[in-house]
Assembly symmetry: C2
Homo-oligomer: 412 residues x 2
């Protein structure tokens, strides 16, 4: 019999407790023994719940209980989650978490503490909700050199982009719809400005490439600036726009890591992942591209990933030597602007004579059109070039072409 | 240092040896120690290879070598693969395999031998090539009750169906093209008649539901009878046709398991998996639907799954208590014909007066059309009914309607 505790009885925490009841038998059979929730930490009271007696407001009741060997930290936020996790690991308890903010900010430190105390710090639920991605990436792809990871890592923004594309709903309205449906929070900044996707790509790239990628070193753009003309020009080029988090190994050993909206061709592997679904592509030197997709959030999907980690720990004898990474000085991330890409650019051309200059400067571009395109509005896709080269060329054009939007094109 | 052997130096076997060289460092780092291939069993000689000295034609050189602790069986076929695997497990060596025929036919027996000798029999490479599916299904979804598994499990047939749909290539020609490209074997029966997909769904459903599902108990249809009119009517109903292997738990405890071509709506999760790609959908009571996709075959993808299993075993101390299932008497599979489904039916109507009778008998049908549809040819989609009910109704129609094709519609 393994006894566990849950820190936080919010959406995910209550889902964890629910699963231990609902799937009790299959969990015991997979784990090889029964697992029961002994304690739940929450400042609120839930007198109506059948398991009301398990609640405590005092963290020490869990920390100092020698019977509790595994703890799920599903409270979110950096503090006191970091201090609690560290204390639990130091006390010889394994911790599993759905807290992407904490893993992205302090993962290397906590993994080192876990290792020093021969326990585990697992975080399957921190990326992709119920989609298994951390474990498959680590284990089943162990025989590969992973060269690149990319994904639609945030369901809220994917829902908004899907509405913009399928129903021509403007961003603001699609966001309100997402909020009405419970897909977006009242303060949607972490989703729509890309911070959530940034945390997840930090975790994926740290694991894939072995050194901690810190969120503040990752160039992050959200989707708040996207407009229906962006959507229409993208469609004209047979593309959708998705918010992509990506990381790849650069030849010199550094890591390219970034989050931004990008054009993907309709037939590409991530293009058809719509609505609140998440999809993660892992490119390996032996497997080629492998894609995982499913619901990236939600109570039970995320809780199932938390519980799966707890089952795994209950079976493992000791600390994992490889589901881990080293700390870094933050200089492991290279310059994303050096990568040669194609860009979709649109804006206003001063006059028709400027068109020839534009072609001279930009090289062989593909022009795009949209219904009701205003006089002078010009959209095109550039040949492959670095972002530095693009900036220079746009500067050369100067007043001849007033840029309204630049979106990168990717190939996943 | 772990020493391993490889049985069979064909496509997959040579890929396994290649990966141990190519990804030597990352394998050692994931496994926590170096892994080297000590022996390779093959009746042929490969004097030109740098590792020619490792070959043997004598199985006993591997069986009786106490240094060899893990063996990859990648020879395929039932015999002598079964006898070799059993002997190795009994000798206390773990075995990993890509041999779906063997796992589907004798998996329960071999898993029991492995358990009795405290070693492992792993088979990630037997389904989905390089796509991690066995391990994620087992481990990361441990907290779920799996209710259903379905997939595009055979790349050759998926390539053929993709050509039929995208380019209106007839079956025979698409098959020849697949052979020319190396996607189909000279004798393509195991692929196009569904046996390969059947073996894979047997493995997936055995693992998902815990009791061995034998291939001979699984209703299996291939794609050889599919025609371009099938494709055109399907397209008219906004569907594609995919060869689907599926298994689900029936209310009484039995398992529905079957392989057949089926209609999938364009927006469904498996519909956009084209060409030689495989995709596997796992439906859980907590995660909802999770889909894995990638290259389902090929030298390095399959070899990477074999090597990942070997790494896993090199880290594990003892036999897995849960990556396993029990034997069965073959009566665990229920009657697939009882499941209510919609069917696409087309054929020749005797005369236009028969149309009213057809509608009376079949209920509320959706009529379909195709370009150049011959006089009298009639296509429709039935309401939901069992296959028994459909057969009765078609019998009632008798000579009024001569059936040419019936294809089931699924919802994945």
């Amino acid at each position: 019999m393994v006894k566990v505790a849950v820190l936080g009885h919010g959406t995910v925490g209550s889902g964890v407790v629910e699963l231990f009841t609902k799937n009790k038998e299959s969990i015991a059979s997979r784990a090889g023994q029964e697992i029961t929730v002994k304690r739940i930490l929450d400042l609120r009271e839930f007198p109506e719940l059948p398991y009301a007696g398990k609640f405590t407001k005092n963290f020490d009741d869990i920390l100092n209980d020698p019977e509790i060997s595994i703890v799920a930290e599903v409270m979110g936020g950096l503090h006191p989650a970091f201090e609690y996790t560290k204390a639990l690991l130091e006390a010889g308890k394994s911790v599993v978490t759905s807290n992407k903010e904490l893993v992205a900010a302090r993962g290397a430190a906590l993994l080192a503490v876990a290792k020093a105390h021969n326990v585990n710090y697992f975080f399957e639920a921190s990326v992709g909700g119920g989609i298994p991605v951390i474990r498959p990436m680590h284990q089943c792809l162990a025989a590969n050199e992973i060269t690149e990871v990319a994904g639609i890592l945030n369901g809220t923004t994917n829902y908004i982009l899907t509405r913009m594309f399928h129903d021509s709903t403007p961003f603001d309205e699609a966001l309100r719809e997402a909020q009405r449906l419970g897909y977006a929070e009242r303060n949607p900044a972490a989703d729509v400005e890309g911070a959530d996707a940034c945390r997840k790509i930090c975790i994926l790239s740290s694991l894939a490439f072995g050194s901690h990628v810190y969120p503040e070193t990752v160039h992050t753009e959200g989707i708040t600036h996207l407009t229906l003309p962006d959507v229409e020009y993208a469609a004209n080029w047979d593309c959708v726009i998705k918010l992509i988090g990506r990381a790849k190994k650069l030849p010199g050993g550094k890591i390219l890591a970034a989050v931004y909206p990008a054009l993907l061709k309709h037939h590409s592997q991530l293009a058809s992942i719509d609505d609140v679904f998440n999809g993660i592509l892992i490119r390996g030197n032996a497997t080629g591209d492998v894609v995982f997709y499913g619901r990236g959030a939600g109570k039970l999907p995320t809780a199932s990933a938390v519980v799966a980690d707890m089952i795994d720990i209950s079976k493992a004898g000791c600390t994992s030597k490889s589901l881990t990474w080293c700390d870094s000085d933050g200089k492991n991330v290279g310059d994303y602007k050096e990568e040669p890409l194609r860009f979709m650019v649109w804006g206003t051309l001063l006059d028709t004579r400027a068109l020839a200059t534009l072609q001279d400067v930009m090289g062989s571009v593909t022009f795009l059109s949209r219904p009701g395109q205003p006089e002078g509005e010009t959209a095109f896709v550039t040949p492959e070039m670095s972002e530095y080269a693009l900036s220079e060329k746009l500067e050369v054009l100067g007043n001849l072409f007033k840029v309204r939007s630049v979106i990168r094109a990717l190939d996943y």
